[in-house]
Symmetry: D3
Subunit: 79 residues, 6 copies
């Protein structure tokens, strides 16, 4: 009866999207539940998944808020 | 000095309610703090409780977002 | 389908005990699951509980490891 | 830069195993990182995964420690 | 490659502020990342920080929602 | 009343050490509690800190257990 928590930044993966879509979230839920069935034989019905979307100003890396970290790395991509 | 984290879906427990009410949250805080006093003798003042409300599209079970899981189970109840 | 995480220090609630007992853990699981049924009408079978025992040197309060904090407070009790 | 936390009970998926093996853990890490690349285009190097193994007496479901819950359900399987 | 999660109540630290500011969050991210470098020699780039802001009605202490706890303590300060 | 959770790999920061020492943990607790006082004016006594040490085989990055990730990066350092 696994519990999976997925923390992601609140932003889109495609131009014009500002957050993960319901379809993307459903794909994460389906994929990780299937993974636990494949690897550890956990029935799908026993796995709980919680997706936690975090505003980019609340996420830090390299000692910086993530937007500034990406600028410093020369990358604007939604890493 | 326990820390209790309660994750629930963001939805009401009664018709017309769209989320747990302040009264329901206060009852959760009171009840779980009392439980830690009763069972482990932790003073009320030492227990921290955080309630985390999760949108239903961010919660998965059975490999599906929870709304779809409930439909599949033939249940629309806010389980 | 709530998820409850209870973090406690790894220590006993009675003389001679060095950790919460299996009976105490069972009482926490039973009590908090019942609470979610009473307050939010969540079926018992839908609630997951995880108890996380933390070594006292890994727990801090007042800027100090918890054992030192208690000494400073003039209290040796397993708060 | 997602963070994935996977909580599982500490028990084996095959007879004679008492915990997830290093190979099974590696498969979980690989699989969930690939999933975040496939679904949200997150580079593998940006995903952190933490697996948290929980003793069965610290895991509750249905208001019971998980071993008792499984007995009640007539199932001894490592769900 | 540490992961730091900071949970705070959603409220301001100065009159007229209703939440931690972007500058305050950046200072938390910078400070805790530097701390892990100083104490454990973890490179800044390896540390992830997530700040989690919690509504005061979702935070409990002393068996009460935090606003009521503060009133009881005779303190309105954003402890 | 902040709650800070610090997850680190279970390994030493100096030759011959196999885990963070009690002194290093105390320095983390002191430092992060002071940071919350400096930045958000949270009293030391209101901050809880939990340090969570994770076995390296339970920590993944780049789709690999962390020991393999470091080898791939040509780095054996306890990043």
């Amino acid at each position: 009866m696994p519990i999976v928590n997925i923390q992601i930044t609140r932003e889109g993966s495609t131009p014009g999207a500002f957050a993960a879509t319901a379809e993307e979230k459903a794909a994460l839920i389906k994929g990780v539940s299937q993974l636990l069935l494949d690897v550890l034989k956990k029935p799908l019905s026993s796995t709980f998944v919680v997706i936690d979307e975090v505003d980019t100003e609340n996420w830090g890396r390299g000692g910086l808020p993530v937007d500034q970290f990406r600028q410093q790395q020369g990358s604007g991509s939604p890493e």
